[in-house]
């Protein structure tokens, strides 16, 4: 029965595909079905609180192997389901405002596909089902990024995204195959309980492959280049996929198989990767002038925090941060989308020129960015508390620097855009206000849920000195940004230019396209070899034709020729007979 959670979105897909838009507007179908799935998830959450239910279905059998689909309902998974449904619902409501001018059926179809895949992912207990939904998310991400397919930048971005996440997909599939071949079961819960039966070598290989899959899907080093370019998608897509859900699925994977990762000893490799990612993304965020790009780098940054939590044996802390991050990041993206629709630009300097320092804009932005930076009493502060529970002293020191950078680039965005007030009153669309307001409220009060969370999922936190230091540093970043970016004169422009020269090389797009070209060139070489092979076989066959031309001469039609051959033949036969053959 657990599968009922993803049923509404599947129904939404089918309805949107087959019912004409005139009869029933696709956005109403999507929104109502999303609401339904939120209701169902909440009901299940309430019903199965503190229980752990697994449901298995037989998909197919081969010989003695059974390939099963299984769903799981426990606190962790159902909580994720509720969060995903809620955020999806809010973003779909916002889409009514955002996508008003576009042909909508394809958008809502692909969004429904994505949401069903994500919901399916969080409740699936079978590796193969997990992979099915993982891959479906990659595909719907591809389709959504290429929504405006006539733009060359969009189609390139989609291709890049799919290929890079496909590397992760392949790693995931290989890891699943390794585990299945060793345990004979596809069930995640069964595999976790039987970890000791897997030989260490395969365990390490599977863990490494799963980590690569998570890194690729969550846009960490070295796979992070697809996420900034994925901002070619409509902003609501970025809000849902590339901040709150899809990129979080990498972390989710690591969280639910954390016993496997811990048992395999591959943990230590995550730390350096996450640290590199944090610093690279922070610098690149300081370097960007596009609102969505800055937010994309901030997402990479936040995801790296979550990886740090997993790496310090604190998966539940990572989960808490994941949920909180979904709330404030989608809020920020929706704001960016709103500004894009109202003012037609994503460039922070152009937006500055519009002079939009109105409360209706900057209050949610302040709430969201403060959560991102970790300033109390907003969400981020509590999220940092849960996250950093197991941090060693040196890690805490590095984390403080990271917090400073995060705060710096967040408030750079804030102070550059919301500089002064030049415009008149703006009429806001209801469907835009409701989601933003909801998310803002959640960001304000949601943090306090940390105290109540223990009954749902055991989370450790401690409000120690480190946390106080952290929040002070975050505030420091805020003031630094205010000082640097709020002034009118061109000091910020100079700073930006300097930063650009240093960090422009961090986006290794050049290397990526060069490697793509190298692969294609190799393909060309193989193709040349293919051509040669074909010619070689042609030569062999033409040899047989030449042979036939020679033997054709025997049939000359010339009588004297035939007589000669006849007599020669007779003599030979006679000689052979006389010799006694």
């Amino acid at each position: 029965m657990i599968y009922l959670i993803l049923l509404p979105m599947l129904v939404s897909m089918i309805l949107i595909a087959f019912i004409k838009d005139r009869l029933l507007k696709s956005h109403w179908i999507a929104v109502s079905m999303a609401f339904l799935s939120l209701v169902i998830s909440s009901v299940f959450f309430y019903l199965y609180l503190s229980k752990n239910v697994v449901e298995n279905f037989n998909w197919f059998n081969i010989g003695s192997y059974a390939f099963q689909i299984s769903f799981i309902a426990n606190n962790l998974h159902l909580l994720m389901a509720v969060v995903v449904s809620l955020i999806s619902l809010l973003i779909l409501i916002f889409s009514i405002f955002y996508m008003k001018k576009e042909k909508q059926e394809r958008y809502y179809f692909e969004m429904s596909l994505f949401i069903s895949a994500m919901l399916g992912l969080v409740i699936s207990n079978s590796f193969i089902l997990f992979y099915v939904f993982w891959e479906l998310m990659s595909i719907s991400s591809y389709l959504l990024i290429s929504f405006w397919y006539e733009r060359e930048t969009a189609s390139n971005a989609a291709k890049k995204a799919l290929i890079l996440t496909k590397i992760g997909d392949i790693s995931l599939l290989a890891g699943i195959i390794i585990l299945f071949a060793n345990t004979g079961t596809l069930s995640i819960s069964a595999t976790i309980s039987n970890l000791s039966t897997i030989p260490q070598g395969y365990l390490v290989a599977a863990a490494a492959l799963f980590i690569i899959a998570a890194l690729s899907k969550s846009a960490q080093f070295p796979f992070y280049v697809w996420l900034p370019d994925a901002m070619e998608a409509p902003t609501t897509v970025s809000a849902l996929l590339h901040s709150a859900t899809m990129v979080a699925s990498g972390v989710f994977l690591l969280i639910i198989i954390s016993p496997l990762i811990y048992a395999s000893g591959t943990l230590i490799y995550i730390l350096p990767i996450s640290l590199i990612t944090i610093f690279v993304s922070s610098f690149l965020a300081l370097d960007s002038v596009d609102t969505k790009r800055i937010l994309a780098y901030s997402t990479i940054d936040s995801l790296a925090f979550m990886f740090l939590a997993v790496a310090t044996l604190n998966p539940n802390g990572a989960l808490f941060y994941l949920i909180m991050h979904a709330v404030f990041k989608s809020l920020l993206f929706l704001l960016a989308g709103e500004l894009l629709i109202l003012f037609g630009t994503r460039n922070i300097f152009k937006l500055r020129g519009y002079g939009i320092k109105k409360p209706i804009f900057y209050v949610p932005a302040f709430i969201g960015l403060s959560s991102l930076a970790g300033i109390p009493p907003f969400l981020g502060f509590f999220a940092h508390a849960a996250l950093s529970y197991n941090f060693s002293a040196s890690l805490e020191a590095i984390f403080v620097i990271a917090t400073f950078l995060t705060s710096l680039f967040s408030f750079r965005l804030f102070f550059t855009v919301y500089h002064e007030d030049k415009t008149e009153k703006i009429r806001e669309d209801k469907s835009a206000i409701i989601p933003i307001a909801t998310l803002s409220m959640l960001s304000v009060i949601g943090g306090f849920s940390l105290f109540f969370f223990n009954s749902i999922i055991p989370i450790n936190y401690s409000f120690d000195l480190f946390l106080v230091l952290d929040s002070i540093i975050a505030l420091l970043g805020l003031f630094a940004a205010y000082y640097l970016y709020s002034n009118r004169d061109a000091s910020y422009a100079k700073l930006d230019k300097k930063l650009k020269s240093i960090f422009g090389r961090l986006t290794y797009d050049g290397a990526l396209s060069a490697s793509g070209i190298a692969v294609t060139k190799f393909g060309g070489l193989v193709d040349k070899f293919e051509g040669l092979l074909g010619k070689a076989f042609d030569k062999i066959s033409s040899l047989s034709f030449d042979l036939s031309y020679v033997s054709r001469e025997l049939q000359s039609g010339d009588l004297s020729n035939y007589v000669v051959i006849f007599i020669v033949g007779v003599i030979i036969v006679m000689a052979l007979m006389l010799a006694g053959v």
């Binding site: 081969i62 192997y65 290429s146 291709k159 392949i170 290989a174 390794i178 193989v526 193709d527 042609d538």
Partner: protein
Amino acid sequence: MIDLIYLILPEIVGIALLYLKNAFHSNLSSKTVSYGAMAVTLVILFLGIIFGFDGFNLMISKAIDFSVSFNLNGISLPFLFLAVLLPILVLPSYKYDIADRDLTFNALLLVIYVSLIAVFMSSNLLSLFMFMEISLLSAFFAIFLWGGDGSFNSAMKFLIFTQISSMLILTSFLMAFLYTGSFSLSSIASLLHGANSMYLSIMLLLIIIAAIIKFPVFPLHVWMPGAYYDSATSITAMLSGLFSKLGGYVLLLFIVFLTPNAVGYFSMPVMVLAAISAFYAAFVALSKKDLKLMFSYSSMLYMSLALMGMMSNNPIGIEGSIFLMVSYGFISPLAFVLTGYLKSQAGTTDMTKVGGLMKKLPVFALFFFIAIFASIGVPGFSNFIGEFLVFLGAFKFYPLLIISIVSMLIATGYYLSSIKMVLFEKFLGPVRKLRDLNGSELIQAGVFSLVIIILGILPYILLNSINLGAV
């Protein structure tokens, strides 16, 4: 309860009708006769699946044990399903490039249809060989008569290569006959166990080489680009959808029933070869700018993976390769049919010359997406199950073979490039009005997609019909 011969009778009646209708001056179009015969066969197949099939036996010569006998063995049902369903779906495409000789085309197609069905049903090796030869010879004419330029050379190459493989197959069959004194599949299967293992290995080796030629798999694949590219759309679809499975079917008969013990000697080298061939095909496909050639090499890629699964010496790999072959047997023709449609609209299959078709031809774009995503192995489509099982089987045999999964990444690369070049970005196409998929083309593409999706969601339909124990 339904005699297997009834699967063949409608076509023979159809062929007779085609030639008699001129005598009776009837207005029946050749196309209708073909459709009718194929539809009747399809109905009979479904009735047979529901009610059960009976064997059929017609002894022609007792001395050499040559009898035309039909009986389903454990692996024939999936292939039979493919062989009966595919041609009727491919038929609407013939209007793209079959401009003349209507009657000959339909008669030839019915002959190919009959012989392919008979191959998968035969339980007597000699009759299997006979029907295989009939189908190959008809294929030669089909490629040659309606192909483009260079079709004679391509058809000749096809004929010579497949005749060599047929000779190898016949040699192996004769070896079986010499040892057991019979050509019947079931008796050979039981009697061959006592044979010398060197003898069995040679038999299997001959069949493996024959299959490598027929699939095709590197390095004996050189006939493929010419034959696939130079033939008419529907013929290419039949070639890649059915003819490439003939080698696989015979190889499977040997692996599963006849010489199961000899497989172990060859597993490792053949699987390595198959993996190399998969990468080879993927890289060549990457560099091709023509849609038809890209799909041809892609077909070679998946057939190499199927070969890898077959030789993995465990039931997961074997059933996976059967599933992959049948599933790709539907996806590949869909791709070629769409290519043919594109050629008829845009006048070319060169990807660099078309673009931005998603806006102008949305229905075509939809089916193009389905074909490409199904190929890549997106779950929900049938290829995913096949690939998953094949890789699982390969891993179980030798772990490092999992590296062949990277060929899927390269496949994604060139498929996405093709989507980009054909569907996205600016419209480069011809100025004349483009007609989107309609009528029979829509039904055709729709049924293909339906089959692919149903097999992807409910794979047990196919997997339950495979029985690796029963001859």
